[in-house]
């Protein structure tokens, strides 16, 4: 079971991480993209954090839709429509309520990631955010199937995302601006996969912190 407070904590935590890692993300993006990913993600999530203040009475579905719309309009780069789609499709797959079940959470990620793939036409191994999201999803599915604790499940999912992120390093980019570089995109970690890892790990942190308190 995930509570509304945990969702709020997740988003705020994500905002903190993107603010802190802004320079790093931009650094990664500078190598193989247009050096705006850190700023874009940070801008989007600071807006999300601001908007959360007006959503104290909203349910989880509403909050996640708000995140989608905010990211679409404020991120600016390709991450806007992509993360926007993740939240939009994800939010569309769950019920309007102040609590969601573990399987609802799984639905959120399944539908969201499906949406991102459709939008970006990216496959695993294309050196994109999908490369950390898909392994995370796979792990989450298994853990929930095995009736593991949600805190544990998310922690493992975050580890898988991290592994996926690191494995983008030797890949050749197939999508986005990095794909213009071809072979030269090798030996760089993908910024999108990195920001996606942060998103998953923020969720893991938010849920585990809350249950330990």
């Amino acid at each position: 079971m995930i509570t509304k407070q945990e969702i709020i904590n997740w988003l705020e935590r994500a905002g903190e991480i993107y603010e802190k890692q802004r320079g790093y993300l931009t650094e990664l993006d500078k190598a193989i993209g247009d050096a705006d990913h850190g700023n874009n993600m940070n801008r989007g999530f600071q807006k999300v954090t601001e908007n959360l203040a007006d959503h104290s009475d909203s349910d989880i579905k509403n909050i996640l839709s708000m995140v989608a719309k905010t990211l679409i309009s404020s991120v600016g780069g390709a991450a806007g429509p992509l993360y926007g789609t993740l939240f939009l499709k994800g939010a569309g797959s769950i019920d309007a309520s102040d609590e969601i079940s573990d399987s609802d959470l799984l639905h959120f990620w399944e539908e969201g990631i499906k949406g991102v793939q459709a939008r970006g036409r990216a496959e695993a191994g294309d050196k994109t955010m999908i490369d950390s999201l898909l392994p995370a999803l796979e792990t989450l599915k298994q853990s929930i199937g095995n009736n593991e604790e949600i805190t544990k499940a998310l922690e493992k999912a975050a580890q898988s995302a991290k592994k996926g992120m690191e494995e983008t390093i030797p890949l050749i980019a197939k999508k986005g601006r990095a794909s213009y570089l071809g072979e030269r995109s090798k030996e760089h970690q993908d910024p999108g996969a990195t920001s996606s890892y942060y998103l998953v790990s923020a969720l893991a942190e938010a849920v585990s912190n809350n249950s330990s308190e």
Binding site: N39, I72, S74, G76, G77, A78, A79, P81, R119, G120
Partner: protein, 841 residues
């Protein structure tokens, strides 16, 4: 009509493209832009919601084509489609065409009324034109992209033929080609075109890309074929268009490269904290009182009419005739005291005689059976829009003229009176959207004590006329400044400090009314003494001169107390027209200015300073990255000595005939060699005049380039006088554009570096007994006088309206203190320190 949406990461990119594309057509195209995101610090990006809104804005069931730049633009557009209503979505198409070429093709095609499919197709073909034109450079890559070129088109046997030779100087480049394509699309017949000189295959003349691919240049012979039911009319239509040089004959100026002016009304978005708005001061002064708004009732126009097309058409012709006769009357009235201003009405007469426009209106009335008023308004609005979208302000101003003159015609058709400024009983302030030239005549006869206008510019016709009235006035305040002003409610115009208060508080109104009274008293006092010399407390005498733009202003300047003309900017004579003024016309203008002088006064006339911020089409100027550092002033003239020769001849002859002393001043001199070259042109001109009186003419330069100021000691032995142009000298010395808001503050004449340069010039000139004047903004600013006088300056030239006040202040000056101040200023580290010296508070 097919709608078009431009999606880009950067608003400048999208809006620039929009502007470029709309120049291709005079038809009102539904075109919207979705660019950038709402983050003022970093606006680069795309926003799916904005894109959705843009699509909805131009949406009709005729369909919409969206053009995107790259990356997230495509993703965001994809997402925007999802947000759209399902029924709309199927009519929205995303084009893979290169964005610039694609949009330009699409706009032309859409303007011609083409279907969404053909707009898409045409856009997708856009790349091939560019590829074809680059093909020569990539011979190995043959056939790529030129598919459209090699595809054979067979001409139907019953087609009729037309052969033309192209006279347009740039051939059928984008705009005239667009005219041809639009005309061709008005006919049902199939129309084909072939460039005989380039051995091309015939292609459809209804497609812009195909026409452009024909690479039709000047003197090329083209063949056109017409096949279909209206082939005769089509041929006739194209002949007419060709006779009109594909729309370039009357609008060649419009196709020249333009400079972007950076200071326009869009840079004045909000009032200050006191609630006052800034604009452009036309005539200084203060006025407080109730507002009046001119009664511009937008007439109701119905599309339908019960009368026949013939009756509607004659209604329109009657109306035009009536307006023409009114204009002629007004012109005659004005001619008696200002012939140059009267020419404004010639422009108006020209505008409503536009045969192309009339033809379109006629077509609309006869073919669509609509009312004359509707057809007129519809066609005129399209023209106005295309003028208004122009970058060059002088051309944009033609939109104002056109709006006025066509508005008059419209009112005549509908038989309702053209706008009247209702006679107020109490002195009132006119608050208006824009001031029209015909308003000024009405102002004079009524108790209007101030004018505030949302639109306008210092060089518009209305402003020129307004300046002549001396009524305190500010224009270009922006729409927001005036929108809530109610008739009868008090407003305040402080055209001394460039402030307009649309809703003054009681407190403000009271204070400003008192200031108004003081200003009136003061201006009365200064006016009374305006002809007395400007002599300081210790008897130092200043010479106060006038800056003028038009010959008639010389008289006004002398009347205002000028002791001569320190700067006659002749370039106004060359602007805003189709061809350059000939020697007789120049002679007439120069003579008028000279005759306004007393025999002991001097007129300093500056040879044409075109370039920089002023650009003239017929002079074949080139488009420059940085026109202020470019081909302007004497630089241009030395490359075209024949033009300089004509101007010098006209000046010399006028001086000779009027027997006035004239100083000829060359602008933008960098080195003395340039002056020497100009002088040899002068000598040739002199040799052509018999019994020439040498005493009458002096030759000098405008010191406005730092190089000339630094080497002033090398220049002075060769010239009779110099005049310091501070506006340019400041911006060149400090490398800051005075029209660029961001760096305007850096272009501060109080900078000690500039003052040091100024001091060197003035001192060196004084040592060699060479007269030195100052004719830039700085010279006319009374707060600068102590500093300038202290640096040794004695001759000040300024706009005539400033003279009475300037003299009044100068008379109170203490020279000993001024010299102390100048010395202290030269010792300062930065302009702020100098400013503190000037106004210690």
């Amino acid at each position: 009509m097919t709608g078009i949406v431009i999606v880009s990461h950067h608003p400048d990119l999208a809006n620039g493209l929009k502007e470029l594309a709309l120049q291709m057509t005079s038809v009102d195209i539904p075109l919207a832009v979705a660019a950038g995101i709402d983050d003022p610090d970093d606006p680069i990006g795309t926003d799916a919601v904005k894109i959705q809104q843009a699509i909805e804005k131009v949406y009709s069931d005729d369909g919409v084509v969206v053009f995107m730049d790259l990356g997230s633009a495509i993703l965001s557009t994809d997402m925007a489609l999802e947000f759209l209503d399902e029924n709309q979505r199927k009519n929205v198409h995303l084009s893979a065409a290169p964005i610039v070429e694609g949009v330009l093709s699409a706009v032309t095609q859409a303007a011609a009324g083409a279907s969404v499919q053909s707009v898409m197709e045409e856009a997708n073909n856009a790349l091939s034109q560019k590829q074809a034109s680059l093909e020569e450079e990539y011979p190995s890559d043959s056939n790529s992209g030129s598919e459209t070129d090699t595809k054979k088109t067979s001409i139907p046997e019953n087609a009729i033929k037309l052969e033309l030779t192209i006279a347009n100087s740039l051939g059928l480049h984008a705009r005239p080609a667009a005219q041809l394509v639009q005309a061709a699309n008005r006919f049902k017949s199939d129309i084909y075109i072939k460039n005989e000189d380039k051995e091309k295959n015939p292609v459809s003349a209804k497609s812009l890309n195909q026409v452009l691919l024909q690479e039709i240049r000047k003197h090329d012979t083209i063949t056109l074929w017409f096949a279909g039911e209206d082939k005769e009319e089509a041929k006739e239509g194209i002949i007419q268009l060709a006779d009109d040089h594909f729309g370039e004959k009357t609008s060649s100026r419009l196709s020249e490269p333009k400079n972007v002016e950076t200071t326009e009304s869009d840079s004045i978005p909000d009032p200050d904290e006191e609630g006052a708005w800034k604009g452009t001061v036309i005539s200084p002064g203060l006025a407080t009182g109730p507002a009046i708004r001119p009664s511009t009732v937008t007439p109701k126009i119905s599309k339908e009419t019960s009368s026949s097309s013939k009756e509607e058409w004659s209604k329109l012709q009657e109306a035009i005739k009536a307006v023409k006769s009114e204009l002629s009357d007004q012109k005659k009235k004005l001619e008696q005291h200002d012939s140059e201003a009267a020419e404004i009405f010639d422009v108006h007469l020209l505008l409503i005689n536009d045969s192309q426009l009339l033809e379109r209106v006629h077509k609309k009335i006869t073919e669509n059976g609509v009312s004359a008023a509707y057809a007129w308004k519809h066609e005129v609005d399209a023209v106005i829009e295309s003028y208004a979208g122009m970058q060059e302000s002088l051309i944009r101003e033609r939109a104002d003229d056109l709006r006025e003159v066509t508005g008059r015609v419209l009112h005549k058709i509908l038989d309702i009176p053209w706008r009247k400024i209702s006679a107020p009983k109490t002195p009132s302030i006119l608050v208006t959207d824009e001031l029209l030239p015909s308003d000024i005549e009405q102002l004079k006869s009524q108790s209007i004590i101030g004018v505030a206008a949302a639109k306008g510019s210092p060089t518009s016709h209305a402003s020129i006329l307004l300046r002549g009235t001396g009524i305190p006035s500010i224009v270009a305040l922006g729409d927001k400044a005036i929108e809530k002003v109610q008739e009868g409610k008090d407003v305040v115009i402080d055209a001394v400090n460039n402030q307009f208060y649309p809703h003054p508080t009681n407190q403000q109104f009271k204070i400003l009314s008192e200031q108004e009274a003081t200003w009136k008293e003061r201006s009365q006092a200064t006016e009374e003494d305006r002809k007395k010399p400007a002599e300081t407390t210790d008897g130092t005498r200043f010479r106060i001169l006038g800056n003028i733009t038009r010959s008639e202003e010389a008289k006004t300047a002398i009347e205002k107390g000028a002791e001569g003309i320190g700067l006659y900017r002749t370039e106004y004579l060359f602007l805003n027209r189709e061809e350059q003024p000939d020697i007789d016309e120049q002679y007439r203008h120069y003579s008028v200015a000279m005759e306004s002088m007393e025999h002991d006064q001097t007129l300093t006339i500056r040879t044409m300073d075109i370039g920089g911020d002023k650009n003239v089409g017929y002079l074949n100027q080139i488009h420059e990255q940085n026109p202020n550092l470019g081909w302007r002033g004497l630089r241009y003239h030395l490359d075209h000595p024949e033009l300089l020769h004509i101007q010098l001849q006209a000046i010399l002859q006028a001086a000779h005939d009027t027997e006035r002393h004239v100083e000829i001043m060359f602008p933008m001199v960098t080195s003395i060699s340039e002056f020497k070259k100009a002088r040899s042109v002068f000598k040739t001109a002199v040799s052509e005049i018999s019994n020439y009186n040498k005493e009458l003419i002096s030759l000098g330069i405008m010191v406005e380039i730092p190089a000339a100021a630094i080497l002033i000691d090398k220049i002075l032995p060769h010239v009779d006088f110099i005049s310091i142009g501070t506006n340019d000298l400041v911006q060149y010395t400090l490398a800051a554009d005075r029209n660029n808001e961001k760096v305007q503050a850096i272009a501060n004449p109080l900078h000690p570096a500039f003052l040091t340069l100024l001091h060197k010039v003035i001192k060196t000139a004084a040592e060699s007994d060479t007269p030195v004047a100052m004719c830039g903004e700085m010279g006319g600013d009374p707060t600068m006088t102590p500093l300038l006088a202290g640096l040794g300056l004695r001759d000040f030239s300024m706009s005539p309206g400033r003279i009475p006040e300037f003299k009044w202040q100068a008379r109170k000056l203490d020279m000993a203190k001024a010299e102390e101040l100048a010395l202290a200023a030269l010792d300062c580290d930065d302009p702020e320190e100098v400013a503190r010296l000037l106004s210690p508070e």
